[in-house]
Symmetry: C2
Subunit: 215 residues, 2 copies
């Protein structure tokens, strides 16, 4: 089975989205600041069809993710991006545009069946209604010998952590306090897994903490 | 005025103590694991009257703290260490023994006046009843040209952060999940201060993240 790696940006106070998410601000108040570290990087810009940008340790981290990730699992709310409820508009394309930057098959966890939505540039959104293990199996099959990336949101990360299905967790700690919002590492239960810190990479913009999850 | 620096160990999921603190386990269930990274260090052992120990980047961080800290501010619960309520035993010595490892004046925030308690080795516990600004002023006076250390607990750190009185925050991120307990960066209100990440030092045992608090 492919390795399941969660890559996610978190504020120092533990939030992956700010308070009060809306259609205009799906990452909540101030939540767009979380990802500020990535927007000017060459590897990020290239994947979004833009030229130029910065090359540094952070772009190396993004490059690594792009190179090693063969498929992605994400939750329904991350796909629909605050558009809701899903049930009201089963054909909603989410907020990802015609050519999402993933470039690999994406498996969206949902309770509502839907045909796959192919996009330009290699991204196809597939919809999985029979649970997190099935989503992981389908993504692993699609990923081949690359890793499966777990993108969020927080509730989906927590589900995979509680089920013992997450192999690695790389948290990009943004140097900011959001003061509220959606916490990443919450609802883990009374017996959370052990961690092994395998790598720390830092720049003034962000600190990348990588952990292996021990069963 | 002296610089106020908070040095505190936090789990990856944001807790500085585990759930259900008791007199036997004042750091809560599993909370003693937070500080595991320090126990074998030469600088830590020396300050606790023990010989030997490891010298590495982590002992350097502890050494730096010992060298640069001229006085300490802490909350009442951190002093009394789960002994409670303070009001029932105004002469309780806390859990710090005859020769606490601080070696500098300590200013304990409390609502109950009490004469200073001198200990061996340079530690004197002073009790401040007129608020966090007064405690900082008294500690700064005692610290001379060294920094004032803010040791916790979480509620006191939050009070100083909200009041805009904290200059630096060094979080020692322990590679573990507690799953519950006392959160450090909580109750910060809707307009938390900006941060500037000034240093990252890491070892397999712990990651030291240092931030300047911008007003």
């Amino acid at each position: 089975m492919a390795t399941l790696i969660c890559d996610i940006t978190m504020s120092l106070d533990g939030f992956v989205a700010g308070p009060n998410p809306t259609l205009e601000e799906p990452l909540g108040e101030g939540g767009d600041r979380l990802h500020q570290w990535a927007y000017d990087l060459e590897s990020w810009r290239k994947r979004h069809g833009l030229s130029g940008g910065t090359q540094n340790v952070d772009s190396g981290i993004v490059d690594e993710w792009l190179t090693t990730t063969g498929a992605i699992v994400m939750g329904r709310r991350m796909f629909s991006g605050g558009q809701g409820p899903w049930e009201d508009d089963p054909n909603a394309d989410g907020w990802w545009g015609d050519e999402p930057a993933f470039g690999v098959p994406v498996f969206v966890l949902t309770h509502h069946a839907r045909d796959p939505v192919p996009k330009q540039g290699g991204t196809t959104f597939n919809f999985v209604t029979d649970g997190i293990e099935s989503a992981l199996e389908q993504a692993a099959e699609a990923a081949g010998n690359r890793a499966v990336g777990l993108s969020g949101g927080a509730d989906v990360v927590q589900q995979y952590l509680r089920a013992g299905l997450l192999d690695e967790l790389q948290i990009h700690v943004a140097p900011l306090l959001l003061g509220g919002g959606v916490r990443l590492l919450d609802n883990l239960g009374g017996d959370p897994p052990e961690l092994d810190c395998t790598r720390v990479v830092d720049s003034p913009a962000v600190t990348h903490l990588r952990y292996r999850i021990l069963r």
